[in-house]
């Protein structure tokens, strides 16, 4: 175990104390595991609440702030949060304009957010939901739990967050969130397994010299294992997997995302290859984001997410955002 932790049991609580200390602009309820932007509820503004298992930082707590999430609910590592957290978050951010839940499509997240929605509505908060399911590695059929939510979560949270910040009503914020999700696809690759604090040893066994194609962000093994590929070959594979499902006529937002342990140096090099492939495929990139945004603890690897945008979505993407992990505009 090469972990910078005290004991596995307190990993999430310790991180929340650390977030509280680093970010005075956030209100952190460590006991109840809710991170809220300090000025919530903002009068007249739709609240945006997301959450999910911990281990994907900066997702979601790092995206709380003006222009993006109103609150985040971190669960245990790789375990969706419990409904009590989302109910509390919804109550904290609702100004009367209602609350949008952004939910990654995993059985656990879906069930817990569903229960939370019922309970929050019982308490008089109007709830809408956007389900994020962008991972093309998973067949979206009746015979699976459906596509997973991965990198597109960042696009949904940023763009729906910008719409909410502009004062859009709940149905519109929800509709925009849906549009972003529908226009987004991702594909991920692991160069190493992941080690959770609770287990203390790698979730799967990946010998050096092999990689997993089509992984999720929880250390689930991928769809296929192959001998190591070059950065260029991986870019070809990932982009083509996405383009099989999404053929953008419009420009795209591009997220070249690190899984956590891949150096930024490599990630930028990979971005060069992704851009090469996209240009060979005649896809125009409007904006690029490179970094560790939707991570999987100490996994080495990367994912590519494309989101096809029209003028409105691009404007909302460019709109100011002020969170620990994403920050621009004025």
């Amino acid at each position: 175990m090469r972990m910078l932790i005290n004991v596995p049991e307190t990993v999430v609580a310790d991180a929340l104390r650390g977030i509280a200390a680093a970010h005075p602009e956030l209100t952190v309820d460590v006991d109840n595991r809710v991170v809220v932007r300090r000025d919530a509820p903002v009068a007249g503004k739709v609240g945006l609440v997301s959450g999910g298992g911990s281990g994907h930082e900066p997702l979601h707590a790092g995206f709380v702030g003006p222009g993006m999430l109103s609150a985040a609910c971190p669960g245990e590592v790789f375990t969706s949060p419990v409904p009590d957290q989302m109910v509390r978050a919804a109550a904290a951010v609702d100004s009367g304009a209602g609350v949008l839940f952004v939910v990654k499509n995993y059985t656990g997240d879906v069930l817990n957010f569903e229960m939370a929605a019922e309970l929050a509505e019982d308490e008089g908060v109007q709830i809408a939901k956007v389900l994020v399911n962008d991972d093309v590695a998973v067949t979206d059929s009746l015979f699976t739990a459906g596509r997973r939510g991965t990198g597109a979560t960042l696009f949904v949270e940023k763009i729906a967050g910008a719409a909410a910040e502009e004062g859009a009503p709940l149905e519109r914020v929800e509709a925009i969130g849906r549009r972003v999700n529908e226009a987004s696809r991702s594909f991920g690759v692991a160069l190493s397994s992941v080690t959770t604090p609770a287990k203390g040893s790698p979730t799967f066994d990946l010998p050096p010299g092999e990689l997993e194609l089509g992984i999720g962000i929880h250390g689930e093994p991928g769809r296929e294992r192959r001998p190591m590929m070059t950065s260029g070959e991986i870019a070809d594979f990932a982009v083509d997997a996405i383009l099989e499902d999404l053929r953008p006529d419009n420009p795209v937002l591009l997220l070249v995302n690190g899984m956590g342990a891949t150096p930024l140096l490599e990630l930028y090099g990979f971005n060069a290859e992704v851009q090469r492939v996209l240009s060979e495929r005649h896809v125009v990139v409007a904006r690029t984001l490179v970094g560790n945004y939707v991570t999987s603890l100490d996994m080495a690897g990367c994912s590519v997410t494309l989101c096809q945008v029209d003028e409105e979505l691009l404007r909302l993407w460019d709109a100011p955002v002020e969170t620990p992990a994403l920050r621009w505009g004025r």
């Binding site: 375990t79 995993y106 067949t139 287990k199 799967f204 689930e220």
Partner: protein, 204 residues
């Protein structure tokens, strides 16, 4: 008749079994999931033990409803709402009787299992906890021992299945050849029910 003490013993036995088997459950979840099922169940049942101690519910139904609510509030993941619903619905079906018959428990448990099916949308053969729960609850009409055996057989039978629900479904054919962690913990839950019965009978 099964009194409130019986249900407390069951929950205590389940908590102990989950503690004992946590590493195995997590190991199973590593193969086809995200390596947390053991710690999820452990955290949940530790909280159940604590809340039963603290709130001291007085009827079989109240014990299970409280235990279920506690699982929902502390586990998260897929198993939290599903096991929480299982116990809560079973408890609700038991009403507020101070003691219940084997037959009443069997029926109530059947309605709990049905609620799990409804909530998660899984069916027999999808390689989930239902593959242990469904045969287990069916055999519960015969005897506790039969239920234990049926649930265990059901869990083992998940090995050759291809998962169609939950995280394991992402693996496609690679999910074949591994036992489902949730089915395994469900078999444990039913085994501890049988164990509680054998050790102390209904308590009255």
């Amino acid at each position: 008749m099964l009194d409130v003490d019986f249900f407390r013993r069951w929950m205590a036995a389940a908590a102990a079994a989950v503690d004992r088997e946590a590493d195995r459950l997590t190991e199973l979840d590593s193969a086809i999931g995200d390596a947390d099922h053991g710690s999820n169940m452990q955290r949940g049942f530790a909280a159940v033990t604590a809340v039963l101690e603290k709130e001291d519910p007085q009827t079989p139904g109240a014990v299970l409803v409280l235990a279920g609510r506690q699982l929902i509030s502390t586990v998260g993941g897929a198993s939290g709402p599903l096991y929480g619903t299982l116990l809560r619905r079973t408890g609700k079906a038991l009403g507020d009787a101070p003691a219940v018959t084997d037959q009443q428990l069997a029926e109530a448990f059947a309605s709990g299992v049905a609620a799990v099916g409804q909530l998660g949308g899984a069916q027999a053969g999808d390689k989930t906890m239902l593959d242990a729960l469904l045969p287990g609850v069916e055999a519960l009409g015969t005897s506790y021992a039969a239920a234990r055996e049926a649930a265990e057989a059901g869990a083992t039978a998940t090995v050759p299945m291809q998962a169609r629900k939950g995280r394991a479904s992402y693996l496609g054919e690679r999910s074949i050849g591994h036992q489902d962690p949730g089915a395994t913990s469900s078999a444990l839950l039913i085994a501890t029910l049988a164990e509680s019965y054998e050790r102390g009978g209904g308590g009255s």
